[in-house]
Symmetry: D2
């Protein structure tokens, strides 16, 4: 990598999971829009063919008329090839296949446990972590070997546990986890300002938020638009829409798009606990006791969100594979546009091409003094030349601290159990998870079934038999 | 108070709740056995007649042949009369009557929530706290006015919240909370040593324990008998008796005595979490998620303990009233014997008549660094001349930290809500309580009913109407 | 205040000490350069005539051809008049006159104690604090009464103690302290990059630093220029210039300008403790044991800096008074240019007109976990719409922690003593100060003399007589 | 080891430094007085002959008429022989000879630095630590190899650094450091009670103290005799005797016994800082800035204590060697009496033969929350069956925290430098030591001289050359 004329050239980006159909193209689009950087993207994927296809597609993005940067794309057959000399490593993998995810999400339903997403927390997130953590250990080892100074940007879920594992494995790693969930709350707040103050055209970036908590279960410490404190405003907004839910004019409704919600969960949490939650309701619901919002699919629908079935994801993948074919054949042209993602902005900031402050997942070094040190928390951080430093979040908002502490404690059992390959330790967290506890008294049985269903990816857990019977 | 010939004479003890039939007589017996102290006990009770009766009975204890000390007993009509010049204040009150306790314990049953005791935690403990906290505030104010330097020994439940309230109201108060639950676990460990090592005749005092946690939900950090580490021994014991339960030969069975258990809960917690719980199973069960041990009375019976109905307590009171009459009439003689309680030993230590270390409830000043400062925790403490200082407990045993943290968080909402007379704040804790969460989705309704049932004691809660409807 | 067309108009700035000749004109210049803000500056000063003169001069700045903003200037006769409705309060006062400063700086010389500045630390800083703290209490009370939501920007020294006092007096105050000392180290690092890497034209803003410590005794945690870690580079630089000192070509030499240094102290501290100090050597020297750099004026000269005599300041004031007259008479035209100060940029960020991260003085809420909570520390902070939030600095660089801890402890004694008007408490810090301890065994005598010399400003210290004789 | 009839028999005690003339005989006397323990003492010493002589003398103690216990004494040729199977390890060694100590104590005098003891802190203590730390590492390794579960009781100075090194080397070690300095303060307080209250015959054990700080620089948190708070009493005492000093009738005067003082330093510290120091003035003086009490031998004498010259120690050794010969020849009979030391009482408590609370040196695990974790602090601890647990000391007394923090910081540099064999790191602490800083500007030169003088014991410091010249 080198600087020339105010540009950073020849930067090397290793993309683990680079065969992705979807997120990879967003990155290509964002890279193509960046005027002041250039270099090489090395695509590494267990499906080498997918990486090769993306290398071709990447080239098309670079050559598109609107492209302002010059990036080369190359498929790599090994982590060594992708990572050696890398300045950045992007990690965005699917741990296992949709078959495992099918078990993660739907097996618990027979036990009265419903999950709206199933990849972060709850039984699905925990069992997913069991197969993800060993992969993250491998990636951290590769970073240590091939590019120990590289910045590692993780997008894989369960986010907190992935970042935690990277640091547990290679404590000197320069990793952080990146997630766009908070942006949706910024947009909602912008809508609230529009609705209640009649100010039009506010972008989400103009809504200044400070967040704290764990990924997908984050809360605002402060919300501000210029001199307007958004907390009292949000109270008025929540009181107006708590019952009916809120959908912005022209926006798709949650009934037609499984990634939408009408924010009733968020507003309910605010009215009960006084804290503005900063993630999609589908995520928030999964961190709460199971009978609050997820007692049944009907209950979820009452609260204005739907459960994303894995069948939907499978169909969606078919759509994306078709798009991949169209891109490769030239039937469809790469579209270069802003995706709303911040990864490239973060890369540029790390290169010294524009400081900014945004939210990010990092091990707790004191930014949240009342959560355990080392646990991965999501707070604001200052991105500048070669550094990411958390902004002090301070004590958790008192109303939701207990909820978050409990999640952190489940996560600690999960990640430590997974690193030790000790299923009993994971089980301890599993039974204490708010979606499991109180919903079933056959938690052990459920856990064993989910482990059995996904054992193809759990081979190196030394012992999968659990402690014997309980009443 | 004054020292003469190695004795502390003319000490003044104010006993709030001094009309008690039961605990008061234990104190009288212990005081009569103490050779090196003497003075006056001032009995104060809202039922002045009961205090007067106890003053007479106290005199009989003092005059009994085996009595070694000389204490005078006097019934007082006001806190001022009882406390002015007091060296010690004993607080052992029943907040409300058994009618309120009837509601505390049994109203939740219609919602599938069963409680084995109902005075410390769970819905019963929380609503009991709502009426106890204002009484404790009053007592703390009286201490501040009439005897600010006195040692205040609380026996009232909910213990943690009572002690917490005393310190919140008068931060300079010298109060601690005293409970005998840990002693039972010492006895169980003595039995385990007998069983597995064939050593006979070990007293509970010879079993050295270090405890941590919150009252009635305490755990051993260390258990030792001479050079014998009791943790591996207890593992063998638990593995042997986890299924069958353990009852000592000759001891009454839990089926015949509602205060007994067969320790299956305790051993199950140990096998799952690696920590030796140090309270009766009836208490322990109430701190755990409701479907673990308290899903139904039958489930409790499977686990080897029964639910103490308030009708039993009412009958028991009748028995004690009868005994009171017999004592007054001379039909029954006061029996002076060791009661197993440590209150008088603590008083003597505070007077400089014998240092010792025992477990006690105090605000957390760092003795448990990973629980919030100020929360009342139960740990060992060093009792010496005019001082009680906690022994460092260190970090919570990792396996049970999450369970205890959650209780502390429920307690914080309860005590703060009660002090602020804010029922919504209390409700937040109530819904998060492990006996409530997951057992009912009509928690608000239950709370309102329980509040309504006991409103005679909740008069000064400024506003008892809760936030409106939820789905 | 209101927003219109992307501008913040009608903002109200109260300037306490607004009669200043010097700093006020810098502010006027910076305000005139800001296109997107406008409003009123209310000048309040105990010398009302000086405020009136500056009101006229402010008007001239606003009307200058290059001015882009529109600010009105008004002299006020009371704090109430200046502060009512204020959005910002700037505090930049001289506590006492140069007569008191003469005593602060020069009285200790008879005791072998030399000070290069004398307004922040050491005997001079401490006695100055004694008269400043009561003034800051008054200001904080006025803010509380007249504009409790205003942002208060302090420039007065001793900085840490002033900010500390503001928060002690009115804990909800939104105050921070602002100092340009770190900028000089950024410039030095830019020079080091130029010297050693041959890169020209780097601005100080391109040198990204994270700082920690207390004002005027701050240290870098990180120093970065793009991908260049400045710590190894600074080592080479320090090894090259530690003996000779470093002065940039064309820059004035420390011999000709009492505000210059040749950075030998800074480089020596680095070679000994591994931490890059981020303030002028004149300041740094005063925080170190007196025989390190300040044993005598000659010793200071060997280290490449000089002691600023108060006579110089008096002469400098004459020059500035003359300039004031020239500006008023029109003989000299206001010059509108960048001053290197960040105050107006901070104001704009707080108004939502451009986020940035810079160093600032704030009470420690955990940003420096190993310094006491509440002590005022200087770290980076994120400035955004209506908020200033510290960036986590983490543990102090281990090499200098002891030096800084000691200063914090002296400051604690000073500020608490001053708030309590307890000279003995201040004396405790005074004797423990590194310039005093070890330099004289007549510290009490010196302190009494300095207090006597400045007693005109110490009237409300209830008792100025110190505890009696010592050996 | 085994228990029989309430006695612990066959306990094995390894005594490192067992050739001692002095302390060993005290231990023998105390062991002989203990009725309920018995076993073997293995004497290990680099001077095997001395160990052999003590084995003989030990036998004589065991056979003395007044002896109540039965201990065998055996000289061992290796650590393995002494430690294998040991239940207790006592460490009491002289690191180097009196030649090295001569340099430690007297070399600094040429630089104006006077030391009253020179083995704990100050230049002497630091250089002594350089040669002691490697020995302690060796001992810890031997414990790890031969008796990892043994209790290790250290008496060697510098105490804090020795205990710190044991834990740094073998973190699971069960070590603590034992010192009798606090007892002297208990005796002084007993005298104060006698003097001011006219109560006769109080033993030091009846004076209940809670201490905090670092060894030889400890302070009372609480001092109590029955219901008497000793702080106000000590104030009256100090005000009475601060000028004249206090010597108990019949007690030897400090002029005639170099281990005596008249407590003026202690009383001066109290009057200045409000904290009751709990060590001999000779020790206390060394932790304070050099010009407070140790500016010259005359100054020390004014403060009522003398500097113990190493020549005195050499002469004293001759006396003790003579006594050894007399004991061996039978010319002198072993005297079995209480020595005032608590080691045997601690051993008995650890064996379950009598709980008690006393002061002891242990790594900070939170007992002093405002000193660094891991640093060795002296606080009360509860001794019981196989456990030593610190009593919570809480925050340092505010008046002396800065003084103690500084010492801890010097000690950190010393111990870390010694473990790393990095003399520059040690030098950093050396220059910051309160006896050095401010007393000389030739600290490096002094350090180099002291290192040179003792280099026979510093062989494995990889590099003894220091960073080059400074001004």
């Amino acid at each position: 990598m080198q600087y020339r004329n105010g540009k950073a050239e020849e930067i090397k980006i290793a993309y683990v999971g680079g065969g992705s159909r979807g997120w990879a193209w967003k990155l290509m689009s964002e890279l193509a829009r960046a005027e002041d950087i250039g270099g090489e993207v090395r695509l590494y994927d267990i499906d080498f063919g997918a990486a090769e296809a993306n290398a071709v597609i990447g080239g098309l993005y670079s050559k598109a008329g609107e492209a302002k940067s010059c990036f080369r794309y190359r498929a790599c057959r090994s982590a060594a090839e992708a990572m050696t000399g890398a300045d950045f490593v992007i990690v965005s993998i699917l741990p296992g296949s949709f078959e495992e995810m099918e078990s993660d999400v739907h097996t618990p339903e027979a036990y009265g446990i419903y999950q709206s997403v199933g990849d972060t927390t709850g039984p699905g997130g925990i069992v997913r972590a069991m197969r993800t953590v060993p992969m993250m250990q491998e990636i951290a080892e590769a970073v240590k070997s091939f590019c120990p100074k590289a910045w590692v940007i993780n997008y894989t879920n369960p986010m907190s546990l992935c970042v935690r594992t990277l640091y547990e494995t290679f404590p000197e790693i320069r990793a952080f986890g990146c997630c766009h969930e908070v942006f949706g709350t910024q947009k909602l707040l912008a809508s609230a300002v529009e609705e209640l103050c009649g100010i039009e055209g506010i972008t989400r970036q103009e809504i200044k938020v400070e967040v704290t908590g764990v990924n997908h279960f984050t809360f605002l410490i402060r919300g501000q638009y210029r001199d307007l404190d958004l907390f009292p405003l949000y109270r008025r907004f929540a009181e107006r829409y708590a019952e009916s839910g809120f959908t912005k004019k022209l926006d798709p409704d949650w009934r037609s798009n499984p990634f939408r919600c009408n924010h009733r969960v968020k507003m309910d949490l605010f009215l009960r606990f006084g804290a503005i939650a900063a993630a999609d309701d589908r995520h928030l619901a999964e961190f709460c006791p199971g009978d609050w919002y997820l007692a049944s699919p009907e209950r979820a629908a009452q609260w204005g969100f739907s459960l994303t079935p894995v069948s939907w994801r499978k169909q969606d993948l078919q759509n994306r594979l078709a798009k991949s074919r169209r891109l490769l054949s030239g039937e469809e042209k790469p579209e270069i546009k802003s995706t709303g993602e911040e990864g490239v902005r973060q890369i540029r900031a790390l290169l010294g091409l524009g400081d900014f402050v945004t939210n990010v997942n990092l091990p707790n070094r004191g930014q949240v003094p009342d959560l355990p040190l080392g646990a991965v928390v999501e707070t604001n951080a200052s991105f500048r030349d070669n550094s990411v430093t958390p902004v002090l979040a301070g004590a958790m908002p008192e109303g939701v601290r207990a909820l978050v502490e409990r999640i952190v404690s489940v996560q600690e059992d999960t990640v430590k159990g997974a690193i030790l390959r000790d299923p009993n330790r994971v089980l301890r967290g599993f039974l204490h998870d708010p979606l499991v506890e109180g919903r079933t008294d056959r938690g052990e049985e459920l856990f064993e079934k989910m482990v059995e269903n996904t054992k193809g990816y759990l081979g190196d857990y030394s012992c999968l038999s659990l402690r014997g019977e309980r009443v």
